[in-house]
Symmetry: C2
């Protein structure tokens, strides 16, 4: 079976919600991605942790065929992030970001990983994303995530990187900011013109839009009544999306659409628990049942 | 064929957008509703205009089987509204609201209208909506629209009115405000508990959600690239929805879902021109083609 490589962060998060406070729980884009993608296909991870990292924390991922041989361990502390969500869970405040060993992260792709057909570049510095692309041997499908921090701080490098990938996943506000647009459809056309034929715009509680060569697909968000912890929703969406696509092997529009739904379904489970707790016990059977609900939600 | 009765405003609007300024063009909830609903079924209108009203302005609606025998004409000026849209067409500023003859509007339902099976109470004072309901002879399906102004100013009367209708159509923020909620799914459950089994939440560019006895349907917004004038989007949505439902005659969940899509499709045309200009020349054939695009947009 094909596998998927993710390059991203591994972190210990401290999260406050109106209901609860959870400290130093496993987080980071590469972790959420792996927890989601490994439901479908083998995953390889390139990231960095500090000498305080407890390898038992990722034992459940190893059991699911997630390969951590590309994980570097460096002297110092693991990346730490703290955030607080308000009553309206759509808004969060970052309390602190201690990059620690992640500050000097230099992604080295092990020889055995270079032919991985599916590649996901999580939200890291655009030059590092380029550096990963340069090490790979013609992957079948490459996708990157990014954020306002890079749009505002490293615009030219980011645009150059976007030109090199097949797909991009991005928040709605960031998609508009990226190409200086106020209309999302025009924004997606402009991003397509840069190069990527696949664009996924994440709209949070409003769902997600997929554009494949300017043909549009709309996925609703699952109506989650009790959001426990929104952290990792985007990365688990990406993991579900890439994992499903990897399992199918072929990047057709039909597979891309189903992948968006699987990504949305995984993300809807992710936010039902703190950290990766809900993803850890999630079964494919539960996931398929939710995908059937997505189908029913848009049928007319 | 069944028909639908709308009680609402008739106005002359002045609208500014970054591109253009149009003064004293036909507007008001009852007008946008009629222009949309009359594509499907006969419409009856109860509203009020001043002695300055130019009846030629509604000639195109009369040709489409819209019955204005219930329209009152009072001494004074017709309701006038002025607004300005920013570059991001999602935001508008009301420049003035001159209620004029609409201030003392007292909806009288003609005898011949009282058995109309479908009734839409556009966004007017809740007591007036109740007063209309009291005059009707057991309509098959009643739906009301409302706004933050009534939620904030006439809360108890509005809640009483909501208890009396089968359905409600409301903006997302207003749905949350109405039942003091931050989560939309919980808000829709609370509104259902008040009485209406049909709830439509309008989310603007994010589409619309339908809840039928707490079963959810999600409709995307059509990806309109060039929004010319958003005025009347909500009322033409309601008109398309009620018109389609009236044409089908039976209020089943399947018909309600299709009605939401037809409403969304009509609204997407409405915003492509100033005032009712695009609705005036809209054909059922164009509409059906767009509905097919909606289907394609959510297929997976």
């Amino acid at each position: 079976m094909d596998s998927v490589l993710v390059v991203g962060s591994v972190a210990y998060d401290s999260v406050e919600t109106p209901e609860k406070k959870v400290e130093n729980s496993l987080g980071g884009s590469a972790i959420y991605f792996s927890a989601a993608a490994s439901l479908f296909a083998p995953v390889k991870v390139v990231g960095v942790v500090g000498d305080d990292f407890n390898w038992n924390d990722i034992a459940f991922l190893k059991e699911r065929d997630v390969d951590f041989k590309g994980m570097q361990q460096a002297p110092g502390k693991t990346f730490r992030w703290g955030g607080r969500y308000e009553k309206d869970m759509n808004y969060r405040k970052t309390l602190y970001t201690d990059l620690n060993v992640f500050e000097t992260f230099d992604p080295q792709i092990p020889e055995a990983y270079k032919k991985t057909p599916f590649l996901f570049l999580a939200n890291i510095q655009p030059q590092l994303q380029q550096c990963v692309l340069a090490q790979m041997a013609r992957p079948r499908f490459t996708m990157l995530d990014t954020m306002n921090f890079w749009i505002e701080g490293l615009y030219d490098a980011l645009i150059e990187t976007i030109k090199m990938v097949d797909g991009i996943v991005i928040n709605e506000e960031e998609a508009l900011e990226l190409v200086h647009e106020s209309n999302l459809i025009r924004a997606m056309k402009k991003i397509t013109a840069l190069g990527p034929r696949v664009i996924i715009v994440k709209k949070g509680e409003h769902g997600a839009m997929l554009s494949v060569n300017n043909s549009y697909f709309f996925a609703p968000a699952y109506p989650v009544e009790n959001v426990v912890d929104p952290t990792g929703a985007g990365d688990s969406f990406a993991g579900g999306f890439m994992g499903y696509l990897t399992k199918q092997g072929e990047v057709t529009e039909s597979n891309l659409r189903k992948a968006v739904i699987y990504g949305s379904a995984v993300a809807s489970f992710c936010v039902e628990g703190f950290s990766v707790s809900r993803l850890q016990k999630l079964s494919l059977q539960e996931l398929n049942a939710r995908v059937a609900e997505f189908k029913r939600m848009v049928e007319f």
